[in-house]
């Protein structure tokens, strides 16, 4: 042991000190120890030592501070926890995921479950019969077409200055009974459940040139539509000024129909005084949506 002692620096008697000096030497030593350890005195049950300052051996007896957290309990969506030592908590929702694309979906109040990703191209669909209320399904392929196409390939005489109903005794297709090849063959009638917007497209071929004005008109329920439909009066949705080199006219118009409404096309020309025959015509009537 070094003298003075390490690390406290208390002075011990030297080997060369006279025996008669020992009482005084121990008095010096004892007092130094007592002075340094003075702050260890006192205190009460339960108190702990705390540093009073940065000075060596400066202590205070103080009541220990109670920790704010005495335990960690796992709640909903969390697992693990504990009341001592190192505590680990785990996000159960994260660990429920097993593969890319997995979803976590609710199964009830404060409950969830993994929903595995569907196959390529599938879409997420609500389904109350499923535990999660969801399922991946394969979407239906393309919207189903609704509409009709009718035509004529026999002559129809069109007198000058007269609105003439374009009759269409033949069909190309008709999904929902819009058209008849027997009665009222110029009509496209809206069936039950199919009210909404339709696009009517018409092509008319004359056997000779239309040298003066000609137009196509939309009639609904037997009356010409108003200018609000196409911007032109008297149901016109296509107007042609006339040309020695043109013998056909085509146009289209959309309109909102109710069930049982019917659409018709009337044709008009102001050409030769003798009637001009239409030798071919085709009308398509396509459902656009409600």
């Amino acid at each position: 042991m070094s003298n003075p002692t390490t690390p406290f620096g208390w002075q011990m008697p030297e080997n060369t000190d006279l025996v008669t000096d020992l009482p005084a030497d121990f008095e010096v030593f004892g007092q130094a120890v007592a002075t340094d350890l003075q702050y260890l005195l006192g205190g009460t049950t339960g108190q702990v030592l705390a540093k009073g300052s940065a000075t060596d051996l400066d202590f205070d007896w103080v009541a220990p501070t109670t920790g704010d957290i005495t335990g960690v309990t796992a709640g909903t969506g969390i697992s693990g926890g504990g009341t001592s030592g190192t505590v680990t908590v785990t996000n159960s929702m994260a660990t429920a995921i097993d593969a890319k694309g997995d979803l976590i979906a609710g199964t009830g109040a404060d409950a969830f479950s993994r929903l595995a990703v569907g196959t390529d191209g599938q879409v997420l669909t609500a389904d109350s019969a499923e535990a999660t209320g969801l399922k991946f399904t394969t979407p239906a392929s393309g919207a189903t077409y609704v509409g009709a196409a009718a035509f004529r390939n026999a002559n129809l005489s069109v007198a000058k200055n007269t609105n003439v109903l374009l009759t269409l005794p033949s069909e190309q297709y008709d999904t929902d009974g819009f058209h008849s090849t027997v009665t009222n063959t110029g009509r496209f009638t809206i069936p039950a459940g199919k009210a909404g917007k339709y696009l009517l497209t018409c092509f008319v071929s004359y056997v000779s040139a239309i040298t003066e004005q000609a137009w196509l008109m939309l009639y609904v329920n037997g009356a010409a539509t108003t200018a609000a439909v196409s911007g032109l009066s008297n149901g016109r949705f296509q107007e042609f000024g006339g040309s020695a080199n043109t013998d056909a006219i085509a146009g289209s118009v959309s309109y909102t129909y109710a069930v049982a409404d019917y659409a018709e096309v009337y044709v008009f020309h102001n050409g030769t005084n003798t009637p001009i025959n239409i030798d071919a015509a085709r009308v398509t009537f396509d459902y656009l949506g409600a």
Binding site: A159, N161, T162, L165, G186, N273
Partner: protein, 62 residues
């Protein structure tokens, strides 16, 4: 003789080159075999004698 020709004959001031709808005369043929008729008359003069408005007439009655 077509209906428009009959009207021109009854009202000589109307020319064959006139576009009837633009002068207020609307003729219609429903392609039902009954022929043309006067669907609407907004011309500055009244419908001539012998013609009537609406289907299936329009033919001269005298």
């Amino acid at each position: 003789m077509e209906l428009f020709e009959q009207i021109i004959e009854a009202i000589p001031e109307i020319k064959a080159t006139d576009c009837f709808p633009k002068i207020g005369i609307f003729l219609q043929d429903d392609s039902d075999g009954q022929g043309a008729f006067i669907a609407k008359w907004e011309y500055t003069k009244p419908i001539p004698d012998g013609f009537i408005l609406g289907k299936p007439t329009g033919k001269k009655t005298k």
